[in-house]
Symmetry: C2
Subunit: 454 residues, 2 copies
């Protein structure tokens, strides 16, 4: 793994040096959460913990890093020397990957020395933002496709390699059946899939010739792309190949439609395939698909068995970022006692104190509301934040990707149907506990007084 110790904002290091001078023993708690849901999202899916734990475990500043920092003439030798021995030694509480979450709910809570808590900020935000954004988009696509299979085809237009790999992982967690991304397949053991490109068909003189060549090399896994020249003719050509394979004891796996009127063409294809006795041949569709288009296609009766979804999922195109923030919620005083704190600036108020998210169920185990409360409050519900790092040591047993995937699909079963609709305006209730509300109100008055006299 490439080293990402310097993947941070410079201010994290300058603030750290000030803490180093003035508040070396100060401990602080930070919450990582999403301030508000983006458009078209009634809920979000948490992803990214695996990478965060790996980062926490391996976070070191190398001699090369330190030499670069020294050249900036910003930092003292004492501080650089401190960085040389730097290890993250704090505690982290987190939701588990595949957990459903809402605005204002901490998905990660870091309690550490102010220096350590500050230095990890950039990596944590970037990781949660990317992976949760992708999973939250992908799960919408999966739900829209109902029982049809969905595959990740997004590699070519994701934002770089990291995003490409994480699009495959996050969408698999969300319920995609596989990816075209070979590297992601290798790294995460995700099933890999592929058909053929237009250029392949065009590199032969005749479409039919290209089809036969492919099926002769892969008689058991041929999916023919039929829209390079004339789609209806392409479908008829594919049927010729299907019949030939059948004669030889093989089954043509599928055809792929990548453009044109998918409803009409898929119906045409299904009819012709059935007439030819090739009813087992699957119809794949691709080309600028997303949850809205897929829902529309199925509502219109398109005869499509599988969808390849690319750019719109891989860039979360309608909401290409989450409003993730990392806010301090308590800090120790001179005597080491934790004091809650919060931000007062208009429209950016935060919740103070060390918090927990409690998910409340009814008797049938259905989730009916969440309560954002203080850790020590006794609230009957499932506490979603669990301790994953204890004094710098990873104490969380990494689940398999399959387990994360199952956690999400299980979870979703118990949320209200209205929440999961594509055009949902349902607002799942996230209530503030009495204890937290009391703390917050008291603190607003106190802070306004203190600062005014400042």
């Amino acid at each position: 793994m490439r080293r990402f110790s310097l993947f941070l904002d410079l201010y994290e290091l300058t603030m750290a040096q000030v803490y180093f001078c003035y508040k070396r023993k100060t401990l602080a708690t930070f919450d990582l959460f999403v301030r508000q849901l983006p458009q078209n999202r009634a809920y979000l899916v948490f992803c990214g913990l695996e990478d965060i734990l790996e980062y926490i475990k391996t976070l070191r500043f190398t001699e090369e890093d330190l030499a670069y920092l020294r050249r900036q003439r910003i930092f003292s030798e004492e501080f650089l020397n401190y960085l040389k021995g730097f290890r993250f030694k704090g505690d982290i509480w987190a939701m588990q990957e595949g957990e459903v979450f809402f605005a204002n709910e901490p998905v990660l809570r870091v309690t550490a020395s102010a220096i350590e808590a500050q230095i990890v900020e950039g990596f944590l935000l970037n990781t949660v933002n990317l992976q949760s954004m992708l999973a939250s988009k992908a799960v919408r696509v999966v739900l829209a496709a109902q029982d049809k299979a969905v595959y990740d085809f997004s590699l070519r237009r994701t934002h770089g390699q990291d995003a490409g790999i994480k699009a495959a992982r996050s969408s698999y967690i969300a319920g995609f059946r596989g990816t075209s991304n070979v590297l992601a397949g290798k790294l995460y053991n995700i099933p890999i899939v592929g058909t053929m490109a237009h250029s392949y068909v065009m590199s032969f003189k005749k479409e039919l010739e290209s089809f036969f060549a492919y099926s002769s090399v892969f008689p058991e896994r041929t999916i023919l792309l039929v829209d390079t020249y004339d789609t209806e003719q392409g479908i008829l050509n594919a049927i010729k190949v299907g019949l030939y394979l059948k004669e030889k004891g093989f089954r043509l796996l599928g055809i792929r439609l990548d453009s044109g009127e998918l409803v009409r063409l898929s119906k045409f294809a299904r009819k012709k395939l059935c007439e030819a006795g090739l009813d087992y041949v699957k119809i794949f569709a691709s080309g600028n698909l997303d949850e809205f288009k897929i829902k529309w296609l199925l509502d219109e009766g398109a005869q499509i068995d599988s969808f390849g979804v690319g750019t719109n999922m891989g860039t979360s195109i309608d909401a290409p970022c989450l409003d993730v923030i990392y806010k301090i919620s308590e800090v120790t005083d001179e005597k080491g006692g934790f004091l809650p704190t919060m931000k007062l600036s208009k429209a950016k108020l935060t919740y103070p104190g060390r918090k927990q998210v409690f998910r409340i169920q009814d008797k049938k185990k259905r989730f009916i509301k969440d309560i954002l409360g203080l850790e020590e409050e006794r609230i009957k519900g499932i506490p979603l934040l669990i301790k994953v790092v204890d004094k710098g040591r990873i104490i969380y047993k990494k689940p398999t990707l399959e387990q994360i995937r199952q956690r999400l699909s299980q979870n979703l079963l118990y949320f209200p149907e209205e929440l999961k609709e594509i055009h949902s305006h349902y607002r799942y209730p996230v209530l503030i506990s009495k204890g937290l509300e009391r703390l917050r109100r008291g603190l607003i008055h106190q802070l306004e007084r203190t600062q005014r006299n400042g």
Copy 2:
């Protein structure tokens, strides 16, 4: 550098195996271009060549890669053995980074064996998409800010680490003055900048105390964040620090406004700073800025000297992908002669043949139109595609980042003003040469005939 040989779509490898069986000696030419401009973009800026050349140079399949592929039970041993010795041995022509380009203009042209040309597809598309998208967004921000400085603050909400690093590089090429991203600073020698976070201010009992602590550690580079509690009070507190520093012979560098009514607050700050004799203190603004917001702020007379621009640039939020495609334009026949080819499917027609982009100037060197022509045509204009890889060998001398930055700013000077406006509807003329149009028309007829008889 991490190995990205498997960062490709599976179909690139399955098609490659078919080529390996049937067309091992077939050569092909592919164009990489943007089919249409996204919303809010009247032009695009090419970036990504540096990474592409590094990828081409180092493209190898390791034993581990091959073992993974073997486990998929898709590929023959002969083909895996071929991959073991794989090297890219083709030619690549490309625009230079920092070049302005338009829809349908190839920014890269690959001529290689069909296998090699196909295998590099995914990485090339992904790289050009990300980096050109970012530079094209960032240059709009720079132009909107006129003579004010703009800095990249996007790390925390870019799509992963690769995107975060490339946002810093691409925006620096576009004219940003620096980045908060320390790793990008180290990798590309981009100036790094930073202020402080709200959490820092909040970790002290009083705002003023936090300001004095910071300025005592960094007396020559303090920028105070003034909106944590009450912004006007924060500005007055910053002035106290500024006066103290002045007394000690230092200059407060700036204050930062991150929320609230930036026009009013910046005017208030400028007035108070001047009254205090601190007119040299810069006013930084940040918080959901983009080219539209910056233009509006300046039009309203905001007293802002520098802008920190984050998420909206780093995700290219209004156009989070380019319509990049990679299309075959010629292929060799049995005798090794190149035959032009093209895609016929509706609304996705492509241009056949080996092409060049000619940029036409008037007598004052102003760019007035581009002509997309055939390589061998004699057209009076600047040919934008130059040969960068010859038979697998990199023959392009990598320019410095400063040189790329200058290329873009120089380039922009000679384009029409209307093109560069934020709300531009100007369509820069990209004409098709007579030779290319003739080739295309002839080929449509020919292909329709061939496929119909197929």
